[in-house]
């Protein structure tokens, strides 16, 4: 059986950054496993600009950003197997992989970095009533068809979901000659960046209907239209507000789900809120020697944070292989009162300062993010604005946590809900 020191599952921005960082931390026997034909992951289809503001102080397109890390991996001669799917990871870190050029193989790894990214929530998971015709696409699949295969799914478009993928596709479809008739958003606020509202909707006079959802799909073999309706504060449709919009394409941008089938099969503990593995400050999962980073851990909005997180995971994996792991007291981290979750979910005493990341559950203005050990306030960061669409970073020094603390709680305080 082939052996490697470090196997990285996924050759997108997370996997690539983890690989380069592991190399720089001293590992030499690294293998990247990528299921598509090229490295770069989802960035290959994100042809719009806006990536890398924090990392490179430039606004790169997805492929341009990916190339920086592909170059990094190639400069370090780190091998990557493309067209190669990992079918299983055993708790003992034996990977079963399959691919045309490698056949069916097992690889024993000393350490594994999980960087499989996420998938899109489909129509079926929303139980939208109506027919099941052609013309319904998740926004990311449509993005792939347009930006990589070069095909337009349709010309009269309605988009459900105002997260960034929905907004980006509103612009993309318009620039390719389609008419985007509406973007409907079930929440009373958009989940996407303000710049995307302006540059993807306002620029093209595409209406955004908040607190609105698709309640019915029409068209026997091909989509002919959708019925929109307003929703109440429990997100349930309000009778009498139905409105029919003729269209031949419905794009769904209704949520990203970390792709953790392998993680689950391997037996790692998952966090029910993030959908990803529970990790400590080194990004180690509950399985020894298995680390996670990027969208598989929790869904990110800025690829810069993915790269930072992945580099940390790569360094941790290298440390695990080269030095082993020291046991130390572990403290639980939790989110309450507006903070939906934390990554990491635990941290160890005696470690270096940690960036704790999370999302809030609703928008806030003139609020503060606070970390408490019991009743003791550890740190308070005032925030003029907090929104679910933007992941927050909270630096925390374990040394500042009083002895005897078993849980640090992160909360939003003194908020005025928008």
């Amino acid at each position: 059986m082939k052996t490697v020191q470090l196997a990285i599952i996924g050759g997108g921005p997370a996997g690539l950054a983890a690989a380069a960082a592991a190399y720089d931390a001293g590992l030499r026997d690294i293998l990247i496993l990528e299921r598509s034909g090229e490295l770069g992951g989802i960035l290959n289809q994100c042809i719009h600009a806006g990536f890398g503001l924090h990392t490179f102080h430039q606004e790169l397109t997805g492929p341009e950003y990916a190339q920086r890390y592909i170059d990094a991996v190639q400069e370090r001669n780190i091998p990557a197997w493309t067209d190669c799917m990992v079918l299983d990871v055993s708790p003992e870190k034996v990977l079963t992989v399959t691919g045309r050029s490698v056949g069916l193989q097992q690889i024993k790894a000393q350490a594994v970095v999980l960087a499989m990214g996420c998938r899109e929530r489909p129509r079926g998971a929303l139980s939208i009533a109506g027919t099941r015709p052609a013309g319904i696409w998740s926004a990311g699949t449509a993005q792939r068809m347009v930006n990589m295969e070069g095909y337009l799914p349709g010309q009269q478009v309605v988009i459900l979901g105002s997260g960034d993928i929905g907004l980006i596709m509103a612009r993309r479809m318009t620039l390719e000659g389609a008419e985007v008739k509406a973007v409907a958003e079930v929440m009373p606020y958009s989940g996407g960046l303000k710049r995307n509202i302006v540059q993807c909707l306002d620029d093209f006079d595409i209406p955004l209907y908040l607190s609105t959802t698709v309640v019915e799909i029409h068209g026997q073999e091909h989509l002919t239209g959708v019925t929109l309706a307003q929703v109440d504060d429990r997100r349930l449709p309000v009778a009498g507000t139905e409105r029919y919009i003729p269209c031949d394409t419905l794009l769904l941008s209704v949520g990203l789900l970390p792709e953790n089938e392998l993680t689950r099969q391997a037996g790692a503990v998952l966090d029910a809120v993030t959908g990803g593995p529970a990790v400590d400050e080194t990004l180690a999962t509950s399985l020894p020697g298995v680390f996670a980073c990027g969208n598989v851990l929790h869904v990110h909005d800025l690829v810069d944070f993915v790269s930072q997180e992945a580099a940390a995971a790569g360094r941790s994996a290298a440390r695990y292989v080269l030095e082993g792991v020291k046991d130390s007291e572990s403290i639980r981290l939790e989110g309450k009162n507006g903070v939906r979750y934390t990554v990491p979910q635990t941290l160890h005493r005696g470690g270096a300062p940690v960036t704790v990341r999370f999302r809030v559950g609703q928008p806030y203005r003139n609020a503060a993010l606070c970390a408490y050990a019991g009743d003791t306030l550890l740190k308070r960061i005032p925030k003029r604005i907090l929104t679910p669409g933007e992941m927050e970073s909270f630096p925390l020094d374990p040394a500042a946590i009083p002895a005897g603390t078993d849980t640090v709680t992160f909360v939003v305080e003194e908020a005025q809900v928008q």
Partner: protein
């Protein structure tokens, strides 16, 4: 003339009000930082955008190549620039930065490749 716009400089999304006279922004209010003022001034007088899209490519694994305008172009020309991309066919290989369409729509800005693509 009064113009209302949302600042895109940061997630605050401040609601800005700009006074525009004779093509000059005379005042900006509603911003909570200087970036907002700068943005309003540019957006009201000479709004510009980066355009990204694809052009046809031959000899590569995929039939389209992602491209971008090398700089910003006038917002009013965005549709025309997007349409101009349809007229271009390039041949693999392509490298990030290769010019695929010079001076698109007379803007003085080139359209360049935004992905490395090998010849198959």
């Amino acid at each position: 003339m009064k113009r209302e716009l949302i600042c895109i400089g940061c997630p605050m999304g401040c609601q800005l009000t700009a006074e525009v006279e004779n093509g000059v922004v005379t005042s900006v209010s509603g911003n909570t930082c200087p970036r907002g003022e700068a943005y309003a001034k540019k957006e009201c007088v000479a709004p510009a955008r980066t355009v990204t899209g694809t052009v046809a490519i031959e000899g590569a694994a995929l039939p389209v190549l992602p491209v971008r305008t090398a700089g910003e172009v006038p917002k009013a020309l965005v549709h025309e620039v997007a349409r101009a991309l349809r007229t271009v066919t390039v041949h693999a290989p392509a490298a990030i930065g290769d010019v695929v369409l010079q001076n698109v729509c007379g803007t003085g800005v080139d359209v360049v490749a935004s992905k490395n693509v090998t010849r198959i």
